[in-house]
Amino acid sequence: MTDPDRAGDATGSEVKPELPQPPGMPRWVKITLLAVGLLVLILIATAVFAGGGSHRPGMHGGLAGVPSSSGTNASYATA
């Protein structure tokens, strides 16, 4: 029987013993990176298509913004 660690290949060079490999990225890290990447893409798309590209209070759709004749906005407008 030939010792696989000492066995040579066709060219005669020695095969080195296999070194321990570093562990791969855990699954929870991959899933988290994917989720964060998707979230960033959604935020960028929202900013570009809905927010006009500039960051300001209420750009995420939260501003009541336009003064109206009823509701909370009206009370701010007349305060």
């Binding site: 929870w28 890290v29 960051h55 209070p57 995420h60 939260g62 501003l63 003064p67 906005n73 009370s75």
Partner: protein, 173 residues
């Protein structure tokens, strides 16, 4: 560099207190932000926006910076290291991003507080009430909750760098 045990415990105490305090302060900020949007009383809502700015400057920013710095000390001064474990890197990233967004968001809080403090200006009518603080603080709350969970569960996973250091230590022994 390893911290001596007494110093390590002190650093851990500072880190836990400031991190949990930050999470609690964000929850309190979220309550103010929701109350400001839902309030029928304009005066109350205005006072809440002014209070939010004070809270951001006086509570959230100091706690976030203290949590970040104490986290750095904690990881560099213990065997966990800064770049050896994925959960430490994830928590550090959360801390950096959350602190950065908070510092950038201070200018928005200033605009809202100024608008709330000056009734009758055009800005006032255009900006208030705003759900922006609700969205930002709700997002911050869940992100910081994730950071707290990472600290408790410490999910497995060593980086290449951490693995190499482990190998070196093993061969040295």
């Amino acid at each position: 560099m390893q911290l001596p045990p007494s110093l390590r415990r002190a650093a851990l105490t500072v880190h836990v207190v400031t991190s949990v305090g930050w999470l609690g302060a964000v929850a309190a900020f979220l309550a103010l932000a929701v109350a400001a949007v839902l309030s029928d009383d304009t005066g109350t809502a205005r006072a809440l926006y002014i209070a939010m700015e004070v809270m951001g400057l006086a509570v959230l920013v100091p706690l976030s910076l203290a949590s970040f710095v104490s986290g750095l000390v904690q990881s560099l001064g213990t065997t966990w290291g800064l770049l050896r474990h994925y959960w430490v890197i994830a928590k550090l990233s959360i801390s950096v991003v959350a602190t950065g967004v908070l510092l950038l968001y201070l200018s928005t809080l200033r605009v809202l507080a100024d608008a709330a403090a000056s009734p009758g200006l055009a800005d006032d009518r255009a900006l208030l009430p705003s759900t922006s603080p609700v969205l930002h603080s709700a997002a911050a709350f869940f992100v910081l909750l994730g950071a707290a969970a990472l600290s408790i569960y410490k999910p497995k996973g060593v980086t290449r760098r951490g693995w190499r250091q482990q190998q070196r230590r093993t061969t040295a022994v």
